[in-house]
């Protein structure tokens, strides 16, 4: 019986991230539009876009390989699975033990691996450009994220995200320099991974600075819808991840009642809204970087994460 309830909650969480992801993207766009004194599209516009794309005929380039049509499904599945493993409003997901934080990082890495390959598949200059730059960003962003995960795992004594969140919500954690460094590093990585300003501009097209858009240039119709959806899921994932690790209060810890889960759910929405507004404000207040400034930015994230972890390794005995 309890297995069924857990399974139901797992499915609810999976559906929640899937449903909420376009809304978050729409919200960020709305905030950015309002801040630049435009009215902006409705926050529900991404749903409409996705629906429109999904119904369109898919155009596939002549030189595309059979994998071209498979990659979008793989990218979507990998991202969704990763997102489903991050607690949104309650911990103790049924399948949370099937992949820990390191595995979530690796799943996101898999998504990027296949996206870069998808960009190279048709054999156009833009696709290769995007893939090459994405690969360069990833070589710094992924280790930075992994090192931050190390710090979290050492503080909480576990790499399981549910355990980490439960530990962070308890009073045992206190203020730590490492956590502050980890938060900054994680936010920097999140900006890079989601292709936000100052790393990449999600709104540009036909610009030599684009990265993500360059890779998906040849996609259309349902394939494009899936890739866009995966990108939105990724944003939701990072926002949920930061919220669940650094602001885990009101997260319903496992074995609590339905009511707690309900409060957790509504507060989750509030947390996500705050995150989106913050992202929108940040993006409007900063300019995009040159591509070769990005390694400095991400290198700083890597160093912060590393210093945080080093502090932790060194300070454990002093406690």
């Amino acid at each position: 019986m309890s297995l069924l309830v857990d399974l139901a909650f797992q499915l609810v969480q999976m559906t929640v991230v899937l449903l909420i992801a376009p809304l978050l993207t729409g919200l960020v766009r709305k905030v950015k539009a309002r801040l630049t004194r435009r009215r902006g599209a409705s926050i529900f516009q991404p749903y409409i876009d996705l629906y429109r794309l999904a119904r369109k005929e898919a155009v596939v380039a002549d030189s595309a390989s059979p994998l071209f049509r498979v990659f979008p499904y793989v990218i979507f599945a990998v991202t969704w699975v990763a997102a489903a493993l991050v607690p949104t409003f309650a911990t103790g997901l049924l399948f949370s033990w099937s992949a820990d934080l390191i595995a979530i990082v690796a799943l996101l890495g898999a998504g990027r691996f296949f996206l870069a390959l998808a960009g190279m598949d048709v054999g156009t200059a833009f696709g290769g450009l995007g893939a090459s730059r994405e690969a360069m960003f990833a070589t710094l962003a992924e280790p930075a994220m992994l090192i931050t995960v190390f710090s979290l795992a050492l503080i909480a004594g576990s790499t399981q995200l549910s355990t980490v969140a439960a530990f962070m919500a308890s009073s045992a954690v206190g203020l730590r320099v490492t956590l502050a460094m980890g938060l900054v590093a994680l936010v920097m990585v999140a900006l890079a991974e989601n292709g936000r300003i100052p790393i990449d501009n999600p709104a540009t097209h036909l610009e030599l600075t684009m990265v993500h858009e360059a890779m998906v240039l040849e996609y259309s119709g349902r394939h494009l819808a899936l890739i866009e959806m995966a990108a939105m899921l990724k944003l939701a994932l990072y926002l949920s991840l930061i919220a669940c690790v650094f602001a885990p209060w009101t997260l319903a810890i496992s074995d609590t009642g339905v009511f707690d889960r309900f409060t957790g759910g509504s507060l989750y929405l509030i947390k996500m809204t705050i995150g989106c507004v913050a992202l929108g404000v940040f993006e409007t207040s900063i300019a995009k970087m040159r591509v070769f400034r990005v390694p400095d930015f991400l290198g700083a994230a890597l160093m912060l994460g590393f210093l945080g972890a080093l502090l932790l390794f060194v300070s454990r005995t002093l406690k």
Partner: protein, 671 residues
């Protein structure tokens, strides 16, 4: 018949198969299918016997043959550690042999390959069985020389001849270091049997010297930095199935040799031993993957990636040594299990990738990325299997590469428990190095696969490529399947490694196969767990669900059209990214200090019609800082000693007399 006797007869049969092959070729009989088929059967037999010995935890067996040095004989022994490595070698050899039944048909000079191939396999299979220093070194040399002959198979190409030269130099150097290591361990009594070395308790200084010598000796075979220079020359020079064997299997024999010395023969470990191992492992990982990212020759790129993976394996072994020295046996078991699993996984995917490049070579005659592209359309099966290999080596879940890297990271996370400050600081550094290496490896294999198998063909040969024979495809398919199986059911591998851990570090990881849902949990389920099977089912279910929903409810219409490319499609495939341009951003970020790479843009002055030039300069620091001075030193010394060639008889006699006096003085001093 005992398992040990069975294994020895199988290997002896392999050695004699080499002789038979020689005769067959002398008689001009087509020997290809027979030799490779027999090698396949014998290797598979060795795999089965060794796995049986490992899984059923057969007690150690020994055997003495009256060959070799007259008063010693040759000792052989089968225990858990050797059983694991023999199983690994057997599986890798069987795969390579089966692949070669098809691939070997394209060999232009089979007489240079067929006689040495079975000898190489037999020698590799025998090294882990050797139980005294003499037998070990003889078999080790056999392995080196047989592989050298295979590297020289196509010696008419000057770069292969050079590769063979560098290889034989480095291999001899490595064997010499191992000889010294065993010499130090044997002591003045000259107890060359491993059982005597095990029983002796050498002083810390002696043991440390032996460990460093063994690290140099085995590291030169495993391709650890800075002794790696021969590897990217020699491995690609051999025929592809032999390249796969050298990278996937022979390097593991070096891992075995190091593990045998460090975890068995030396006795109780000292924590300081782990420091050089960790430093060398981390350096090899980073250096190897950087080089792999810059290389445009597919086989050389794979060879550099072998250096990277061996670095990871030695990192695991180093952590295992450190944990063992500090009495944390469970943690040591975790680190060493990770290392050995990575050894197995690396054998699987590296063999697969080399076989795939071999298939590419058969189909197009090219192994330079700049001449390939779009092979997925022409060779879909090879392309699909290669995608599995590329994803596995990039440590993507749910494939096998991820599991072993995940386990190594779990071992790193136990680092704060080290009592020594050096190790405490080294542990997060190792973690960062692994993270960086893994990320760079993923970039490397996006490039490797994307440039050669995706995109548009860059040459006529690539455009007219054809799928390869069924033997090759079957082997690649089987290896790809094994990569997946080892990734989703790692618990069984971990459990199979238990007797090895008990033998090597005196502790084991918790039993995995009893954990619900076939998860793996290296320490405790509350701390960390991973379930590749569930992740895979999850991924398959979600993608199938989405595909079904979209195709049913939205649209499944599809139209083929020319590439859009922002409205200005350029028909020439030259406009695609190449191997060099793909890695250019990474070279700019990391290459500055890794290779002292710098780019020079020479733009003509306005009005000048000369073309602009873009020049990239780089430097292999290891080669320049270590090998060139040695080479210069040897040449200088040789030209000085040249004078000795032109002495008179009287002068020679006085030199001999002086040498005799000096030797007598040394002897008198020692006594």
């Amino acid at each position: 018949m005992s398992a040990l006797a069975a294994l020895m007869s199988l290997d002896a049969a392999l050695l004699s198969l080499g002789v038979i092959a020689g005769f067959l070729i002398a008689w001009r009989v087509s020997a290809n299918a027979f030799v490779y088929g027999a090698a396949f059967a014998l290797s598979l037999g060795a795999f089965v016997v060794a796995s049986w010995a490992l899984l059923f935890a057969a007690p150690p067996q020994s055997l003495t043959l009256p060959i070799g040095l007259p008063w010693i004989g040759a000792h052989f022994r089968l225990d858990a550690l050797s059983a694991f490595f023999i199983a690994l070698i057997g599986l890798g050899s069987a795969a390579a042999s089966f692949y070669a039944i098809g691939y070997g048909r394209h060999e232009r000079s089979p007489g240079r390959v067929l006689p040495f191939y079975p000898v190489f396999l037999g020698a590799m299979g025998l090294v882990p069985l050797a139980d005294d220093a003499y037998a070990f070194l003889v078999l080790w040399e056999f392995m080196s020389l047989a592989s050298w002959a295979l590297v020289m198979a196509h010696h008419e190409r000057p770069e292969n001849a050079r590769a063979g030269y560098v290889y034989i130099l480095m291999a001899s150097f490595g064997t010499m270091m191992l000889l010294f290591a065993f010499g130090v361990l044997a002591g003045s009594e000259g107890s060359y049997q491993f059982s005597e070395m095990r029983a002796a308790s050498p002083s810390l200084a002696v043991a440390t010297t032996a460990l460093v010598l063994a690290l140099i000796g085995t590291g030169s075979k495993a391709g650890l930095a800075p002794l790696h220079v021969w590897l990217p020359l020699a491995h690609p020079a051999a025929p592809s199935h032999v390249s796969g064997l050298m990278s996937g299997v022979m390097t593991k024999v070096a891992v075995y040799a190091f593990a045998r010395v460090a975890f068995d023969l030396l006795g109780p470990a000292d924590w300081r031993w782990s420091v050089p191992v960790l430093v060398v492992g981390g350096a090899s990982g980073l250096l190897g993957v950087m080089h792999a990212l810059m290389e445009t020759d597919l086989k050389r790129s794979l060879a550099y990636s072998t250096i990277e993976n061996l670095g990871l394996i030695f990192l695991g072994l180093g952590l295992g040594l450190a944990f063992k020295a500090d009495g944390m046996n469970e943690a040591a078991a975790l680190a060493m299990t990770a290392a050995l699993m990575h050894a197995l996984n690396h054998m699987l995917f590296k063999s697969l990738l080399f076989f795939g490049v071999g298939a590419t070579l058969t189909a197009t005659g090219a192994r330079d990325m700049g001449k390939l592209g779009g092979l997925m359309n022409r060779m879909p099966a090879t392309g699909l299997f290669m995608l599995f290999g590329a994803a596995a080596i990039s440590a993507l879940p749910p494939l096998n590469g991820f599991v072993s890297e995940w386990l190594i990271l779990q071992a790193v996370l136990l680092g704060p428990a080290f009592p020594q400050w050096t190790l405490k600081l080294l542990a997060p550094t190792v973690g960062a190095a692994i993270a960086l290496t893994a990320a760079l490896a993923a970039a490397c294999f996006v490039r490797f696969y994307g440039i050669s198998f995706l995109g548009r063909p860059r040459s006529k040969e690539a455009a007219e490529a054809h799928e390869v024979d069924r033997f090759s495809l079957t082997t690649m398919g089987a290896l790809a399947a094994l990569c997946l199986i080892a990734g989703i059911l790692p618990g069984f591998v971990i459990d199979a490694l238990k007797p090895v851990m008990l033998f090597a570090v005196g502790g084991t990881m918790p039993t995995q196969s009893t954990i619900a849902w076939l998860s793996i949990a290296p320490i405790a389920a509350s701390r960390s767990s991973y379930n590749g099977l569930l992740v895979m089912i999850f991924m398959l279910a979600t993608s199938a669900l989405v595909a079904f929903i979209i195709h049913r409810l939205a649209s499944d219409a599809l139209r083929r059209a020319p590439a859009w490319d922002c409205g200005f499609p350029e028909p020439s495939p030259q406009t695609q990214y190449t191997g060099q341009s793909f890695s250019q951003p990474i070279r700019r970020v990391f290459g500055g200090f890794a290779f002292r790479a710098h780019e020079i843009v020479k733009a003509p002055t306005p009005g000048d019609m000369a073309p602009a030039r873009f020049i990239v300069r780089g430097d292999d620091l290891v080669w320049r800082a270590i090998y060139l001075p040695i080479e210069r030193g040897i040449s200088a010394l040789a030209s000085r000693l040249n004078a000795l060639q032109f002495l008179t008889i009287r002068q020679y006699l006085s030199v001999v007399f002086a040498a005799l006096v000096v030797l007598l003085l040394v002897l008198a001093g020692a006594a």
